[in-house]
Amino acid sequence: MTGSEAMTRDERGIAASPAAAAPLIEVEDLEVAYHVYGSAPNRALRGISFQIMPGQILGLVGESGVGKSTLARAIMGVLPSPGRIERGQVRFMGSDLVAFDEAELAKERGRNLAMIVANPRGELNPLLPIGRQIAEVARAHLAVGREEAARLAIDMLKAVSIPDPERRMRAFPHELSGGMAQRVVIAIALVCSPKFVISDDATSGLDVTVQAQILNLLRRLAREKHMAMLYITRDIGVAANFCDRIAIIYRGQIVEEAPTDAFFGGPEHPYSNLLLAAFVHDPRLRARWGAALARVTPAAGEAACLFADHCVNRQERCVSERPALEESTPGRLVRCHFPVHR
């Protein structure tokens, strides 16, 4: 990181201290399960809690299938129908989103609460020009007329660095490259200047150079508009470069949360160490943290830590008592009876 970037991180770190500001969004004990007829419910999220300050970017890192997308959709209120929020609260701007009905949620979505989706060309309406799709979202939430909305759309296209925006307004989704379509989807998410933005794996399909540009863009916009952002990804490298804090999610639970620099100075949860070990060449070092992955038969029971089956540091207590997410060092949370302190 260059010097200027390091300084901005500290600035945001100071702003994030509890005394200074209240969190913009606070998720508490969120539990989501998918109920499929004929089998036990699939517990996708088991008590997720976190908070994000305005202007802060929280990275949520986990492998496929651990519940990252489920979390995004639960917060936005668009869980597909076999999924239900069983417990928990999502406190946003003084209200609990979980208690909202569809009509109230629809008012918030796009307006104060927005999501940047992955696979943008698949999600945009193939029959409408992109300018119109941006303008429609503006008109749905802001009290603007057709011309004003079109102007807002052009402004957004400029803000996301799409060249020749007046002409591009009339382009159709299939005419855009992946990078451009991703920028359009960002433009749609940000046109109403929402307070909170979720990026659901939004840049993983893009080429490396395009991804770098888009993340620079998102960071600049987030800073300018004082948004809080939840950046969901499988790529720990990207999260490290882009986010202020990192949360690691494993099987529906957050197992560690820490400021990015501190995290990479020494992850505290064995699973986090495992994720980091995937980058090193030395197979012995990888085995040191991942040897237990080969364990095929689950030894742990219902009450055990969810990572116990694959944890190299497993002890007696891990199998009989599930750990809670607690503060280990100031500003850091970890869900482990025997966190790794160096």
Binding site: A106, K107, G110, A114
Partner: protein
């Protein structure tokens, strides 16, 4: 520019398409048993006169030669004469084709007016009662024979209730049909300012149009319903809701994306009904093209049959061309 070139190309392609249809039609018609000469002269005819008539009709020549003669005549606009009506086929069709077109066009409009809204309601399940009605309707309409429905409607509305005028023909027997411009009695009488003719032709259209409309609303409803259901579950609809767009707008976009499927079925029905409305035409003594062709088949009167086949094929091809242009207008992805 590209569009004009496309249309030009398609119109040019019509020629070999028509040729193929004429060839197949000709061969099929010749395969129908029954000798026209015998039928024309009646049971008292002598073998000599039959042979003489066959010679005159050219029926003794080899098949390929007959075909070439026929193609040649068509190219000059001579579709032959119907020995039943003793009129040139072209003149017969000039009256009967518009009659069928008028009936079928209004019928399809009614079918659309019933089928599309019900299809949308069934797909979105907004009103539970209406949705159930839509489901039931889709089920039943496919099973309804159109001539049976026609008879029922006549019985109820004419015989029992006396609300409708007599179900014979396109216009009241006492009135003269309007001057022919398009062949559509309704349009022609409007243009003329001939109010009695207009009211009468409209009144005579009610029952047959209702019949066709009610029956054909079934497939339109089912197509609309399934297309709408798919579009409402598609990624772009979920995304639209994710952006907080109101549900009405989401539905409007879904409908727009469902249009190609609906347009397809309408075009297929349109082409089909030109001949397919024959039973309704017979029940209402409409004097339409389908009726004309059927009589030709039953009496081995080849010229009307071939004439009808060619005209209705041409009509279908033009309908498909229009439909393809509509697709181009709706879906920008095709324009590439």
């Amino acid at each position: 520019m590209g569009t004009l070139r496309y249309i030009g190309g398609r119109l040019l392609f019509l020629v070999p398409q028509i040729f193929g249809i004429v060839l197949v039609g000709f061969l099929l018609v010749k395969a129908v048993p029954g000798d026209p000469a015998t039928l024309m002269l009646g049971p008292m005819a002598t073998p000599d006169s039959i042979a003489k008539l066959r010679g005159e009709l050219g029926l003794d020549k080899p098949l390929p030669v007959q075909f070439i003669i026929y193609i040649n005549r068509i190219a000059h606009g001579d579709f032959g004469t119907s020995w039943q009506t003793t009129q040139p086929v072209v003149e017969d069709l000039a009256v009967r084709f518009p009659a069928t077109l008028e009936l079928v066009s209004f019928g399809l409009l009614v079918a659309l007016a019933i089928g599309i809204p019900l299809g949308i309601v069934s797909a979105t399940r907004r009103h539970r009662v209406l949705a159930r009605i839509g489901d039931f309707y889709g089920l039943v309409a496919g099973a309804l024979p159109d001539f049976w429905l026609a008879l029922i409607l006549i019985y109820v509305f004419y015989s029992l209730l006396g609300w409708m005028s007599s179900p014979i023909g396109r216009i009241d027997v006492m009135l003269l049909p309007p001057r022919t411009i398009t062949g559509f009695y309704t349009i022609d009488s409007l243009v003329e300012g001939n109010w009695p003719a207009f009211r009468s032709s409209l009144a005579h259209l009610v029952l047959p149009v209702l019949t066709l409309g009610l029956v054909n609303a079934g497939p339109i409803l089912k197509t609309t319903q399934s297309a709408m259901e798919r579009m409402l579950q598609a990624d772009f609809s979920l995304y639209a809701r994710l952006c907080g767009l109101p549900e009405k707008l989401v539905m409007r976009h879904a409908l727009r994306n469902a249009l190609p499927s609906i347009v397809t079925i309408v075009s297929v029905l349109y082409g089909f009904l030109i001949g397919g409305a024959v039973l309704v035409e017979i029940v209402f003594s409409w004097g339409g093209a389908g009726q004309y062709a059927v009589q030709g088949v039953l009496n081995a009167d080849f010229n009307p049959v071939l004439g009808f086949v060619i005209f209705s094929a041409l009509f279908s091809l033009i309908v498909y061309l229009v439909v393809d242009l509509v697709y181009l207008a709706i879906d920008p992805r095709i324009r590439q």
